[in-house]
């Protein structure tokens, strides 16, 4: 759909596809979560995310020509037509990973939807005002469990830390600049650039990680064997960060430089997306025009 894709459409699809694809992953927990309350939680969050995607696809239809409808937008695109961040398509692995990802994603979503309330695009701001009344519960869920797991026991903390380590680099790419972003910022449709949003989000996540003494997942300490004495005889440790581009400057976590795990906004997805896409769109492709 690249030939007809305006920057406004890309913005909508980035927001909607993130919700749809992560909602799909959350829904895979239905019936499998270790306890009933979390089964209801992940199932409800999945249901909300898919509904939010649907509202945004409704706006996207206004940007598209004839021949498009909600179902075709959600299920009728080829894999490279999806604009979701790669993080959203990764398999659930374990519940610690799913929770860490939900924490990082919903914190990021909160930052960007807060900024977009001030969008010059009135319809988008209205949809997101509604979405935020429901997202408040997702954020509350993520933060409650983040704190509970961070407090231990050790196995819980390790699962959470492992999930954070596995998802942080790709979480940065939620804020990968959109193709045509300059135009969106100039028109006020996107009132805050992704670069600014990323640093606001990272500072916020960094504070939460520090409060839970989990900020070590952002830093990689060089193994002792690699420390080399300098000419003065002192041993200097070169700061090394686990996530490319991330550094701690003046007490604040910031991102500089390139993105790891990016490409989703341009339709470049991981090998994990292929099987998700096959599953999600299978019925739609097998029975064109099916209703349910």
């Amino acid at each position: 759909m690249s030939a007809e894709e305006s920057p406004r459409l890309t913005l909508l699809l980035a927001l909607a596809d993130d919700d749809l694809i992560l909602g799909h992953r959350h829904s895979e927990w239905t019936g499998w979560v270790p306890h009933l309350e979390e089964d209801l939680a992940f199932s409800s969050i999945a249901q909300d995310e898919m509904a939010h995607a649907r509202l945004l696809y409704g706006l996207a239809l206004d940007e598209l020509g004839q021949g498009w409808d909600e179902d075709r937008l959600a299920l009728g695109r080829s894999p490279e037509g999806y604009r979701n961040a790669v993080l959203c398509e990764r398999p659930n692995r374990d519940w610690g990973f799913s929770l860490a990802r939900q924490f990082l994603y919903d914190t990021a979503d909160d930052e960007r939807t807060a900024a977009l309330l001030g969008s010059s695009w009135k319809e988008l701001a209205e949809v997101l005002a509604l979405v935020r009344t429901e997202e408040a519960y997702h954020l509350d869920h993520a933060r409650t469990w983040f704190r509970r797991l961070a407090e231990g026991p050790v196995a819980a903390r390790e699962h959470l830390a492992g999930g954070l380590e596995a998802s942080l680099a790709e979480a940065l790419a939620i804020f990968e600049p959109l193709p045509g972003e300059e135009e969106l910022v100039a028109s006020g449709a996107l009132p805050v650039s992704n670069r600014e949003l990323l640093n606001a989000w990272l500072a916020r996540v960094g504070e939460e990680l520090e409060a839970a003494s989990l900020d070590y997942v952002l830093e990689r300490h060089a193994p002792v064997g690699e420390l080399v004495p300098t000419a003065s005889g002192e041993i200097e440790e070169t700061p090394s960060f686990a996530v490319p581009g991330v550094a701690r400057v003046d007490g604040r976590w910031v991102h500089r430089g390139d993105f790891a795990g990016s490409g989703g906004r341009r339709g470049r997805h991981s090998e994990d997306f292929a099987s998700l896409w096959e599953d999600m769109t299978g019925l739609y492709r097998a029975y064109p025009g099916a209703t349910w």
């Binding site: 409800s44 939010h52 005002a129 509604l130 979405v131 935020r132 009344t133 519960y137």
Partner: protein
């Protein structure tokens, strides 16, 4: 809520809508829940603007069909158009006092600003929220330590403004 001038038809439509119930919350009508934003009556049409309570609520299609039938009965001969609008977002403070009472009688604690809610069965305040999610999108799961009953509470749903902290919005020049 904006009511059209009371020419008889509008009143009949509102009356009919007060008998349309949310299938997921049987004791409450859609007027109790504050879902009816506007009724517009003209010589040829009745137009209805409804607010969805939760965007992903699967009852919305049923509610739309029942509204169409109810309005057609109250205003025969007029075209009926029912649509869901997104602005203003529905919030839980739109639920009327009759609606709150009906929820409580049904065993669902009505929404409030507090996370913990009085038990709808025994009235005790010695309760705890087990989960902010429940059997439907609009309900959370609680437990009463006094009468030892699990119970459900209608979720508070409020306008969420950006947090007053170091967010990107505040840092803009």
């Amino acid at each position: 809520m904006v009511k059209a001038p009371d020419d008889g038809v509008a009143a009949a439509v509102w009356d009919a809508l007060s008998r349309v119930h949310d299938p997921e919350i049987p004791p409450c009508s859609i007027t109790d829940l504050g879902m009816v934003e506007e009724v517009r009556v003209s010589d040829a049409t009745v137009e209805l603007d409804l607010l969805p309570t939760f965007a992903g609520c699967p009852a919305l299609d049923v509610i739309r069909e029942e509204c169409e039938a109810a309005v057609a009965g109250a205003a025969p001969g007029r075209d009926v158009r029912v649509r869901f609008v997104l602005s203003p977002p529905w919030t839980s403070d739109r639920i009327t006092s009759a609606g709150r009472k009906a929820l409580k009688t049904y065993g669902v604690a009505p929404p409030s600003g507090q996370v913990s809610r009085p038990c709808p069965f025994c009235g005790s305040r010695n309760t705890v929220q087990e989960s902010s999610f429940g059997p439907t999108l609009c309900r959370a799961t609680h437990y009463c330590r006094e009468c030892r009953n699990p119970f459900e509470a209608f979720k508070a749903k409020l306008i969420v403004l950006p947090a007053a902290r170091g967010s990107a919005r505040r840092e803009r020049p």
